[in-house]
């Protein structure tokens, strides 16, 4: 069974999915994947959308992305179990061990911090890799190009500072 496709095929398929989602035959809107997080936070912490301006603002896109997210989780879980066979419980990524450390505690703390600020950053910018990079730059939006450039530069600088070249033996 196929469990991997090359990047160029993935790029073509992603372009087709973006176009379908944009089109009136699809959803007539862009793909986004970070608004669902505060949307679900509102549900989990039982915040009243009438009281919080932000929850009111994201009610519709949050719902749309929430349903899309359930599709992502369901589809990739089924794939991982039966097709790609990539489902297993692990804590440390191979490259974390190679370029950072072997500490589970360190990885979990950094993951929590990373996840926390990832969402703060995405919501400040009004989008993420999906909403800005994929959907925004597809429309040649200046906002998305600014975001894209800042993210790429910061990503590479952080990668250089945070990780070791190779693991000390």
């Amino acid at each position: 069974m196929i469990n991997k496709i090359p990047w160029w095929l993935g790029g073509i398929l992603m372009a087709l999915l973006l176009l379908f989602t944009f089109s009136v035959f699809g959803a007539n809107r862009p793909i986004g994947a970070s608004t669902y997080v505060p949307y679900f936070a509102g549900i989990i912490f039982d915040l009243d959308p009438q009281k919080y301006t932000y929850l009111k603002e994201i009610h519709k896109p949050g719902s749309w992305e929430g349903v899309m997210l359930l599709g992502v989780l369901f589809g990739t879980f089924i794939n991982a179990l039966f097709i790609t066979k990539t489902f297993r419980f692990t804590v440390l990524p191979a490259a974390w061990k190679k370029y950072k450390n072997n500490s589970v505690v360190s990885r979990l703390i950094w993951s929590f911090i990373g996840g926390f600020f990832l969402i703060i950053g995405a919501r400040l910018a009004g989008g993420c890799t999906s909403g800005h990079f994929l959907s925004g730059m597809t429309q040649t939006a200046f906002s998305s190009m600014i975001f894209g450039a800042v993210v790429m530069v910061t990503l590479v600088i952080t990668g250089k500072l945070f990780y070791k070249e190779t693991k000390d033996v």
């Binding site: 990047w7 973006l18 549900i43 349903v67 489902f87 996840g115 703060i120 993210v151």
Partner: protein
């Protein structure tokens, strides 16, 4: 307790109802878009820590190659679809403070976490415990942003408009979109292909 559970259930049901009442595809269609979106990422493995943190370390270039190719092709297609009336623009505003400060925070977090909000859920579905912990961190990030939205808004700055590159050349929109798309496709192929090995690859190569 019972009341809290019902209200959460009601809100989840209202999520489906909201999508059903909108003109942005049926619940089933949106769910399937999610399945396809997740599968494309999963099969190309661009959600792996080795691919995203690997890109941050410049040891893996599959993420930028695929991103630029997808954006390049889609930008050409989208322009002509808009001309035909099959789609419309949904451009995000320029809020310089939000884009720059948010972009710095986002880029640094992405390098350390090795995920973004669209790729994280796939790793959660594959049983990655570190990413589940990060997702909980993300939920708290969403909570803090919601609670302090007024304060965050002051950092985001004023709206400088929902401007686009093709809108900058109103008489040459088609050629602008075409050149923009072709340049991105060219960049995508020009980036040398580097791949950082991850544990799943070992099984795959057997």
């Amino acid at each position: 307790m019972y009341d809290k559970d019902t209200s959460m259930l009601e809100r989840i049901l209202s999520m489906f109802q909201t999508v059903q009442d909108e003109e942005h595809g049926s619940v089933l269609l949106v769910f399937v878009i999610g399945m396809v979106f997740g599968s494309i990422i999963q099969y190309t493995k661009v959600h792996k820590f080795e691919k995203i943190a690997g890109f941050a370390m410049l040891k893996d270039t599959v993420v930028p190659k695929m991103l630029f190719l997808a954006i390049g092709l889609a930008s050409i297609g989208l322009f002509f679809m808009i001309q035909l009336g099959w789609a419309s623009y949904h451009v995000k505003p320029i809020l310089l403070g939000g884009l720059i400060i948010g972009g710095i925070i986002f880029g640094a977090s992405m390098a350390i976490f090795g995920k973004c909000p669209g790729t994280g859920p796939i790793s959660v579905a594959e049983g990655r415990i570190d990413i589940m912990v990060g997702a909980i961190g993300g939920i708290f990030g969403g909570l803090v942003f919601t609670l302090f939205y007024e304060q965050f808004k002051t950092i985001m700055g004023t709206n400088l408009g929902n401007l686009t590159l093709s809108g900058y050349f109103p008489d040459h929109q088609g050629i602008t979109a075409l050149i923009f798309g072709l340049v991105l496709v060219a960049i995508s192929f020009a980036i040398p292909l580097l791949e950082e090995v991850d544990e799943d690859d070992i099984g795959y190569q057997k």
